[in-house]
């Protein structure tokens, strides 16, 4: 057997492993839709696929998806940066830790709906989803990065001191590679949270072009097929972002062999 045949077989097996569960769940969905028998309550996958195809032909669809993606990813990035900065501050200063710890715990415990309504009072409608996404990501990154810093091997830190590493070199060669797995895990969890909370914020505050606004309109106009189609868009974009981030982290991890 040649190498290319083995490679083709392996790709075929991978595709089959992904396709069979997908076909199974689509089948379950179709059967359920047939059993309910009302598209208003549960449209079938074919009807949703057709609606999705029709939406993809509209310019507003792509603009809404792009704007939502930009807002939520912007909020996610801000949450990551702020979470990392506060975690670093909390790790070097006990006072900073005493100051930030309760605030972060309060953010973590507050229901996302309360935040959305509150932020809606203080910020322009278009900014709310980004702010909410950032607020949901911040505590996750803060906790993970802080744990990564405290878990950094003290023996390696002592070795860095003994071999006269500068602060910059200790940060680059000891802290960053040690914290990286915690950071990557925080980003993965945070991205899912940012996406869900960001779309929820869009549903409540309804910016002009947004997936959440489209979801809300589909709900009030009883277009259940559109509701499903937009939900599939949310899921697909979430998977896409997660895959891109996963690929990036795998590359970075391989480079640093973390």
């Amino acid at each position: 057997m040649t190498t290319s045949t083995i490679s083709r077989n392996s790709v075929g097996r991978t595709l089959l492993r992904a396709a069979i569960p997908l076909a199974f769940w689509l089948g379950v969905w179709q059967l359920a839709a047939l059993a309910v028998g009302k598209e208003l309550l549960l449209p079938g996958p074919l009807a949703v696929g057709e609606r999705l195809f029709a939406l993809a032909g509209e310019r507003a669809f792509w603009r809404s998806a792009g704007m939502s993606l930009g807002r939520i990813f912007g909020g996610f990035a801000a949450g990551v940066l702020l979470g990392c900065a506060l975690a670093a501050l909390s790790s070097v200063s006990q006072w900073a830790d005493r100051l930030f710890s309760p605030a972060v715990k309060v953010i973590r415990a507050t229901p996302v709906a309360s935040f959305i309504v509150l932020v809606l009072l203080w910020a322009p409608t278009g900014r709310v989803p980004a702010i909410i996404s950032a607020l949901m990501v911040l505590p996750v990154l803060w906790g993970n990065v802080r744990r990564g810093i405290t878990q950094t091997d003290p023996l390696l830190l002592e070795a860095a001191r003994a071999y006269r590493f500068s602060r910059g070199r200790t940060l680059r060669l000891v802290y960053l590679p040690s914290v990286f797995p915690y950071f990557a895990s925080g980003c993965s969890t945070g991205l899912g949270l940012a996406w869900k909370s960001g779309v929820a914020a869009e549903v409540l505050c309804q910016p002009a072009l947004a997936i959440g606004t489209a979801l809300y309109r589909a709900k009030i106009t009883l277009e259940t097929t559109s509701l499903f189609a937009w939900t599939i868009v949310v899921i697909a974009l979430s998977f896409l972002l997660e895959s891109v981030l996963g690929l990036l982290f795998r590359r970075l991890g391989r480079g640093a062999r973390v």
Partner: protein
């Protein structure tokens, strides 16, 4: 002169060094030989300034480079990078030379996970030697390294002309040193003996 006078180290109730005094000449290799737990590692760490002492003072011919009892390698750095990390920018090209000294020249691009226990020990040793200083303090430098290879490496270390204080349990290693300090404890007591 490698010198410490009346140094005391206590871990809670346990007295490891009790006004311990050591003098070793500023040349050659001096072996610290004694049973596990007698205080050799604590002494080396105190000499390197990593272990705070309650009393006494330490005098060294220059900054110490210590080889820890554990390898303390960075899993994400290659062998060559480990050496380059302790060298100044203008000396980065020397990394290959230090790897050659410990017979690891073929493993420059290997990370610790790809090395055997003995190889990791030699890499940790090369990093310590490359770091340089006025004295080498080596804690079990040849643990897991076969005796003929350890002998060859020790000869090369002697050739660097930097005084060495090493602790070892291996008879072959101790026998190749210029002088032996037999130790017992805790608290640590030393009886110098010329080979």
């Amino acid at each position: 002169m490698i010198f410490c006078e009346n140094i005391t180290v206590r871990f809670g109730e346990k007295l490891v060094l009790d006004r311990f005094t050591l003098e070793a000449p500023e040349e050659g290799v001096t072996a610290l030989s004694g049973p596990s737990g007698c205080g050799k590692t604590t002494l080396l760490r105190a000499l390197a300034g990593l272990q705070p002492v309650q009393t006494g003072r330490v005098t060294l011919p220059g900054p110490a480079a210590i080889l820890f009892q554990e390898d303390r390698l960075f899993p994400w750095r290659t062998a060559e990078q480990h050496i380059a990390d302790v060298l100044s920018r203008d000396r980065r090209g020397e990394a290959g030379m230090w790897l050659e000294l410990v017979e690891l020249e073929g493993e420059a691009r290997s990370r610790p996970a790809a090395l055997s226990g003995g190889m990791e020990r030699r890499l940790a040793l090369a990093r310590c030697l490359a770091c340089g200083g006025g004295v080498y303090l080596l804690d079990e430098p040849f643990a897991g390294v076969d005796a003929p290879r350890a002998g060859r490496i020790l000869s090369r270390i002697r050739g660097l002309g930097v005084p060495v204080l090493l602790s070892s349990h291996e008879v072959e290693t101790v026998a190749r040193c210029d002088r032996i300090l037999r130790l017992e404890g805790p608290p640590l007591r030393a009886i110098p003996e010329k080979i």
